[in-house]
């Protein structure tokens, strides 16, 4: 007993050696697309930063109609490093969403959702929508002119869905209009309901990844030779940590050089400010909606647009079930659909900015 080191003492109680053993046995295949494996953990890094900076902002933020704007002003002007922390929260959100897109699109093109990984993909799509919901609810919280206008538009869009639309809008707003009640509701979503849901779905997603291991691209799989690989721990994780350090440094640099500002306080009675625009990740949808004519064959254009978007989301979610023949013609079409989507989103976003 006296000879036992502290490390051994802990080991008998925690059994961490098993985990290390497991991670050492877990092989990460090496090929020319290995780089895309890094995007997943980049999202996780930003998620952790979001949680930490979010906790910090919660110490000062007050989610009410009267106090919201004032408390954000206080964070930015009175609290030590307040503007830095808020800026970090903003930029980390931006980069996290960017990496979610990169992650999903790269997996789409590499067809990583092939059996048995269909559920991994579907949980990933749910995580995408949870992330976007975080962005949408968080955007309102500073309660400045732009966030109010964006939320009015964003919560009005579902009202064009036939039958249930009005009901959805009221549910989102906590009333017929965007008011202080909406702010309270969005705050609850942003800091409690969404985080808990995200952690649950993320746990499921990560479990599936551990269970099935890393997906290997079709082309490499077809060559029928054993791929070179290295263990997850420590070889792969050390490589990833190099990437994390670069991301962390870039995030801090961005936040310091391009700090997030705060507009004029929201006024429920004021006309919408000029140049109102959603965050960049909603721009392509925003522009699509703008392009639809007021009516098509007697049906409101918005209704058609929103139904089309819903169909697209459904197709995206069920992609693994649709792509039954990944190596064949159909598979190729689906890969090109991803490229077409990227081009479409980029063009639409640029169009709405310029």
């Amino acid at each position: 007993m006296p000879k036992q080191s502290f490390r051994e003492w802990l080991e008998t109680r925690l059994g961490w050696g098993q985990i290390v053993n497991f991670l050492q046995k877990k092989e990460v295949p090496r090929h020319k697309h290995t780089l895309w494996y890094y995007t997943g953990s980049a999202i996780l890094i930003f998620l952790v930063i979001q949680i930490i900076t979010g906790f910090m902002l919660l110490l000062y933020y007050k989610p009410t109609l009267e106090k919201a704007y004032q408390s954000v002003t206080q964070i930015m002007t009175e609290v030590s490093y307040g503007w830095v922390i808020r800026s970090l929260h903003h930029w980390s959100a931006t980069l996290m969403i960017a990496f979610v897109f990169i992650h999903l699109l790269s997996l789409w093109i590499l067809k990583a959702y092939r059996p048995p990984r269909e559920l991994t993909w579907m949980s990933g799509v749910i995580l995408l929508f949870l992330t976007l919901a975080f962005g949408f609810t968080g955007y309102l919280l500073p309660w400045d002119e732009l966030s109010l206008a964006a939320t009015k538009v964003g919560t009005e869009i579902p009202s064009t869905i036939p039958l249930i639309g009005r009901w959805v809008t009221q549910l989102l707003r906590g009333g017929a209009d965007v008011t202080g009640d909406t702010l309270t509701r969005f705050f609850g979503l942003h800091v409690s309901i969404l985080p808990l849901s995200l952690i649950l779905v993320l746990g499921f997603h990560l479990y599936l990844i551990q269970k099935h291991g890393m997906s290997v691209p079709l082309r490499e799989e077809k060559q029928n030779r054993p791929l070179p690989s290295y263990p997850f721990w420590p070889n792969f994780l050390l490589r990833e940590s190099v990437f994390w350090l670069i991301l962390l440094g870039s995030l801090i640099t961005l936040s310091l050089f391009l700090p997030r500002g705060l507009g004029q306080p929201a006024d429920l009675m004021a006309p919408a400010p000029v140049g109102v625009r959603p965050e960049w990740y909603f721009l392509f949808l925003f522009q699509t909606l703008k392009l639809f004519p007021a009516t098509i064959l007697g049906i409101p254009g918005d209704t058609i647009a929103i139904l089309l978007v819903m169909v697209a989301v459904g197709l995206f979610f069920f992609l693994p079930l649709l792509d039954t023949d990944p190596a064949g013609r159909k598979g190729k079409v689906i890969t090109w659909a991803a490229v077409a989507f990227i081009v479409y989103a980029v063009v639409m976003s640029l169009w709405s900015v310029l």
Partner: protein, 105 residues
Amino acid sequence: MKSIFLYLKLILSIGLIFFFFGQNFLPGQPVAQLGQHQLVKEKSSNESVKPGPVNLKEKTAILVFLGWMWLVIAILIYLLIQKIREVDRLYEIKYYDVSSHGQEK
């Protein structure tokens, strides 16, 4: 052997000195004071709040901070690359297969 640890201590202490030294350059209280001033301005003209450094002192503080941070990151990346080389070599000679867990940290 001894000389290696001597170098190690030297490098670490230089790092720590830089760290504490660097702290004095960080924008701490000035930001808060600047805030008061901004708040007054905000009330009078109802401008939107502009974040970020305002005077030269804060701007240099930020640059010094960033310089120091990237230096640390660069050194860490260099060390990590050395470590990666080492673990790759260990993997190639199948070192992990014979050693039990806990040997490798």
